[in-house]
């Protein structure tokens, strides 16, 4: 397959890995901020292939994992209102809130439908004019523009029954929050691929300038990721910190301007509640006042009891990169993908599910 096979070339990969082995012996901690990267790193066994001095950590990059239990509780409560159809991306339905999940709510009679895009949600709204169709807007800058586009489309079509529960989050502020906490000493960051295809590579510049941390925007194939690690290691060796864009086929430095404009037209930046991290200023996207009629939060009266986290679950620490799933007492015992306790075990892109699914060097 074109544009895929080239980036899986084992010979090229082996050469790059050898190069990294040759010039780096310092202990280095790298963090990736993208669930897709976490999965790719495990799927291709990159942690095993990199030299021992390079440690890879996973940050809060899985869009469903970072959704706060309180926000999920809201989504579930919305589903229980008569004549409401909940539309959601797939993984989200399995994530446990404080008391239930969308999947359980569905089994109990809520009308929860998995959609592939907001276009599907709009179609459902058109077909069901007598019902309220709520789209659970989760995800980072990658998904927010398409949600913004759907709001504009709903406006244009004068759809009166389409609503967004906006739980969108944005990446650079959470990176800053993780670095400011200082819980993990990160030397390098693998910047997310899909998010950067929207925002570009420039918004991370402050991390190189102010925090003196190396970084590279990476794609999702093994060569992409090895290339990014190579760039980061070289930056650390030369004490010269930049944001290198190693994913030029997908990411422009300035980002996707029309998508950014769309996002800005519909959303404004506000505080967001992150699972395991709490409220982080200016890290979320809320619908602008102009589009309040599409805001599920404003339209529906949602009352949920205070959220609670599952007992013993360390998803919060895992999301911050402070702990690995293996350090959790529940991991593989009471918490498995079949019977998940925390969100990181539910989502296919969650750290715990990834550790479980792929093992590390199959030493479970």
């Amino acid at each position: 397959m074109k544009y895929v096979e080239e980036y899986r070339d084992p010979e090229l990969g082996k050469k790059l890995l050898e190069k990294i082995r040759q010039y780096s012996h310092k202990p280095i901690k790298l963090m990736e901020f993208c669930g897709g990267h976490t999965v790719a790193i495990f799927k291709y066994g990159l942690r095993q292939l990199l030299p021992k001095n390079i440690e890879m950590l996973s940050g809060p990059g899985c869009p469903v994992c970072v959704t706060a239990a309180a926000d999920l509780d809201k989504a579930i409560a919305l589903g229980k209102i008569p004549n409401v159809i909940i539309t959601s991306f797939g993984d989200m339905v399995r994530v446990p809130g404080s008391y239930s999940s969308l999947q359980k709510a569905k089994a109990e009679g809520a009308d929860v439908r998995i959609v592939y895009s907001t276009q599907d949600a709009l179609a459902i709204a058109r077909e069901n004019p007598d019902k309220a169709v709520v789209f659970i807007g989760i995800g980072f800058e990658t998904t927010a523009p398409t949600v913004a586009a759907s709001v504009l489309q709903a406006e244009q079509e004068k759809l009166k029954n389409y609503y967004i529960l906006s739980l969108h989050k944005i990446c650079p502020p959470i990176m800053k929050a993780i670095l400011d906490r200082g819980e993990v000493k990160v030397n390098g960051i693998i910047y997310p691929g899909h998010v950067s295809s929207i925002i570009g590579s420039r918004p991370y510049q402050f991390i190189a300038d102010d925090y003196h941390i190396a970084g590279a925007v990476a794609g999702f194939e093994p060569i992409d990721l090895i290339h990014a690690v190579d760039s980061i290691v070289a930056q650390i060796e030369h004490n010269h910190f930049i944001v290198e864009n190693t994913y030029r086929r997908g990411v422009k430095d300035e980002g996707n301007i029309p998508a950014l404009r769309l996002m800005d037209a519909v959303f404004e930046v506000g505080e967001a509640n992150w699972r395991g991290i709490g409220n982080v200023p200016a890290s979320g996207l809320n619908l602008r006042e102009k589009y309040a009629q599409y805001d599920a939060d404003k339209h529906f009266d949602i009352n949920v009891p205070p959220a609670k986290e599952p007992k013993g679950c360390i998803c919060g620490a895992v999301l911050r990169g402070v702990s690995t799933p293996k350090e959790c007492k529940l991991f593989r015992k009471t918490c498995t993908p079949e019977n998940p306790v925390g969100p990181c075990m539910v989502s296919a892109e969650g750290s715990c599910a990834t550790y479980y699914q792929y093992g590390e060097g199959y030493g479970r």
Binding site: K14, G36, G90
Partner: protein
Amino acid sequence: MPPITSMEKAMEDKILLAHGSGGKLMHDLIQSFLSDIGNPMLDKMDDAAVFDVKGKLAFTTDSYTVQPLFFPGGDIGKLSVCGTVNDIAMSGAKPLYLSLAFIIEEGLPVAELKKILGSIKKAAAEAGVKIVTGDTKVVNKGCADKIFINTAGVGIVPDGVNISAANARPGDKVILSGNIGDHGIAVLSQREGLKFTSPIPSDCAPLNGLAAEMLKATKNIRCMRDPTRGGLSTTLNDFAESSKVGINVAEGQIPIAKAVLAACELLGLDPLYIANEGKLVVVVPAKDAAAVLAAMKKHKYGKNACIIGEVTAEHPGRVVMKTALGASRIIDMPVGELLPRIC
């Protein structure tokens, strides 16, 4: 023009609750079935099919529900015959007789039922099995999703054949009969209205002919299974777990059609976990592998067969894939529904 019978009139459009109530409509509906799939044993319409068998019996049952009912390369009718035929064939048995039971949601267009019956007839003829007993129920609208089909089947296991998921031994070879993922992607793309430039047809097919050819090559087949729901990964994990052995497979050796691979890349799905309906995977002693592989390649449903891995005494219960870059990772069973990724 001959007068229109009550049946023909009712058959003009939709299945009615009355079709399931045992009266005239029911009788006429059954008669119309018989004209499609009938044989002397079924035509008797006795309460039970009575037949002679000699030898060790294989007996299986499965229920079928698929949305949409019709997809590229097959439909629920073909699936309900092939699925049960294949389950029998995977024990090494020669499938002989099937039962066929419908639960139909009121309102199903009769034309669709006819089409499904046509597929059943065709698939049964290809597999060389007879449908000898059956049942039809019609339920209220909303109590079923268009149509559910249950089939059960019996077959005879030849002497000297002993196939079980628990029989794999270290050193054995693992052979796959062809490309994986076709069925799951065909159904998913049809269901979700995803259009690819070249539509991906389901691989749905009866595999008893292929299995028979393989058994002619050697009776030493240790494990054999059709990797349906849960995909290849689930079947390999079943073998590893039941036999208390490890299985090693190599990335890049598992055949996958380019279109399926592309669809999987697009949707964020792993072809290892996607259902197949016309593939089988076998474990055979290394010394018999070449003969079995040759027999498979000669058959129309095994043209793309290849050795994908081997059984090892290491890491019992686990399936490990060696990646092209030289790392290794566990291939686990899938959990829950397969869902496309978010971003």
